[in-house]
């Protein structure tokens, strides 16, 4: 059982989606996260073990390498895709309540802004680390965030912006949510955003990289 979990973790870390995928070149023709996860479930490996000892391990390794500038966007994206392929097999078990996730994360790119690569990376890293992710997409209004906050009372909210012109909308959205739910945790990220800006607009957490967001959520989940 350990062997197959290690293999899945390796596929996630290096972005091997499935047998047919040519990426990465040195794993051509091998089974990917897709086939291996199916196999693991069929042979009775518990869903939580696959999540904890394969997906989370793989995503954490690539997240740390990204933070240390050893890998870049394409590798992280391929890792996220491999993780997504594995997650497809796990989802029915979460939906049925047979397996539990660590929490819920509501994420979106703020009003006026269409940039989604950074938001997608965070979204996929968080999902691969065992959270349910509600991805609201791009150009998301304060009203939409508020409605989702109502629907998921324990959901942590993540706001993304890539432009100096749209980061001002973060302030508006944080205020809208905090006016109604003062205790709701909101984290922010994006190229123009900083820790100082985070404090200024009364958000709770800023991370310059996706792994930081995952670690923050893990701390919250650990209580």
């Amino acid at each position: 059982m350990d062997e197959i979990l290690k293999q899945i973790a390796h596929c996630v870390e290096f972005g091997k989606i499935n047998n047919a995928s040519p990426y990465p070149p040195d794993m051509k023709g091998q089974e990917g996260a897709d086939e291996l996860t199916r196999k693991a479930l069929d042979s009775g490996v518990p869903v939580e073990d696959i999540l904890t000892h394969a997906l989370i391990v793989g995503m954490k390794n690539v997240g740390v390498k990204f933070r240390e500038n050893k890998v870049f966007v394409p590798q992280v994206l391929m890792s996220a895709k491999a993780m997504g392929a594995a997650m497809e097999h796990l989802k029915p078990h979460f939906a049925s309540g047979a397996a539990k996730r660590k929490g819920t994360f509501i994420i979106g790119t703020v009003e006026g802004d269409l940039h989604d690569i950074g938001k997608n990376l965070v979204s996929m890293m968080v999902e691969g680390n065992g959270y349910e992710v509600i991805d609201l997409g791009v150009d998301v209004s304060a009203g939409k965030f508020l409605a989702e906050a109502e629907k998921y009372p324990h959901g942590v909210i993540g706001l993304s912006a890539l432009l100096t012109t749209t980061m001002v909308n973060m302030e508006k959205i944080v205020k809208t949510i905090k006016d109604k739910y003062p205790d709701r945790i909101i984290c922010i990220g994006g190229a123009p955003v900083s820790d100082d800006f985070c404090k200024k607009i009364n958000a709770d957490f800023y991370s310059p990289d996706p792994q930081g967001a995952v670690e923050f959520l893990n701390e919250l989940a650990a209580g």
Binding site: N69, K70, V71, F72, V73, P74, Q75, L77, E111, G112, D113, L114, H115, D116, I117, N120, V138, D139, L163, T164, T165, T166, V168
Partner: protein, 501 residues
Amino acid sequence: MPRLKILSKEVSLTEKVPRGAMLLDILRTAGHEMYTPCGGQGTCGKCRVYVRDRGYVTSCLFPVMEDMEIVLPEPSEASIMAEQYAHTRQLPADPGPSARLSAHPYGVAVDLGTTSLVFHFVNLMTGALVETRAILNPQAKYGADVISRINYCVLNPQGARILQQEIINTVNAELLRFAGNAGTGKTDVVRICFTGNTTMLHILLGVDPGPIAYVPFTPAFTEEKILRAADLDLECHPGGEVKILPSLSAYIGSDIVAGIASLKPSTAHKNYLFLDLGTNGEMALCTPDRIYCCSSAAGPAFEGANIEHGMGAAEGAIMSYDGPGRFRIIGDTRPTGICGSGLIDLVAWLLAGGRISGDGYMAGDFIIATAAESATGQAICLTPKDVREVQLAKSAVASGINILLSHAGLSADQIDALYLAGGFGNYIRPANAASIGLIPRELCARAMPAGNTSGTGALLSLRSVSFDGILEEILSRMKNLELSDHPDFVMQFAMNMEFHT
């Protein structure tokens, strides 16, 4: 025998010449130095002179059959013309009715760039280019890129007005300086044509550029605007015509529309690509029926921003790189940093030597010039993070080109020419640009610098009202592709960040 009257700044003479003799030969015989890089073969267009009542003619192809008056270029124009490009469109001088506002009418073509402003002063009687000036955009203190300028306008109640005043003051200072130097009255300037990106044109008119930065990117105007100089308090003839050339969209301004219109590619070039690499990379794929264009946030990496020792193409910049100790510096002083063309060369060299891997990983800083060699007393180096910035910038451009190609249903080898607009295009080495994946490999040998096409477009508009028809025709064929909501863009952008070694 026809009589020929030759007018130039110093002399005016009339002489009889043999009927049918080539004008170029007559001018040379009369002792006028003529610049003919093509050797009088009629292909380069650099020996043009102005024939009264006929407009510009290419003198090596023009037999003199009757009496005529020739106006020779002023010396300052000659040197600028020598730098002009073979594929620039030529139009007969016809500045329109505003030229009648003065007995000695002048006009100014202004290219409003985010970073610099270029002024072309023109004698509207002859169409002669009298002076060209490039100065820094005074708004630079409010931010380097259009987004930060827009941000200023959004956050400050009088923002757009404040930035407008900065531009107007600078244009006025140039107008007064010109009038002083040329010994003309300020009211002799009777026509001004502006090109620029959509944001700069909004600011010029004091119109809020805010909507340009937000979805769905709808600018307040894109159409041509014609005003009177008094409307903008410009220091010239109050009734003079001020023309703002038309734009296509929020991120395809009149700088690009007029830039494309300023080119007249060889008829052998059916499909060609126009690339203007600045903070925003604008690109257009011109085909016989449609012109597909898009703008992609290339980021200011090639202009030096976000690069540890990056700088613009100014004195002290390493502008080319061929290996340790083998680099060229602008101004041949000690190096202070590296500019876009040098950066492309350097990354291409490091990739070829395996110091940067195909996925963009570089183990540590690479020293370009030691502390002892540099002008700053500090080593000039390339950091692993700089390589990441180059990956982002080159992918934004490469992905934009790919999406244009797929919309046009063309492959890179079906593109006959690549025009590189802007100063960057003069320095860039196409082979290295292809090595790092900025442009398709197939286009290396077909790349050529096109100069400041936006400024040339403004100049053509100033000199000749017939340019309007060309602009209109170009605009009617242009199709704007918005990359940020394009389904293929995100995946393309991410995967094109890799280097293919």
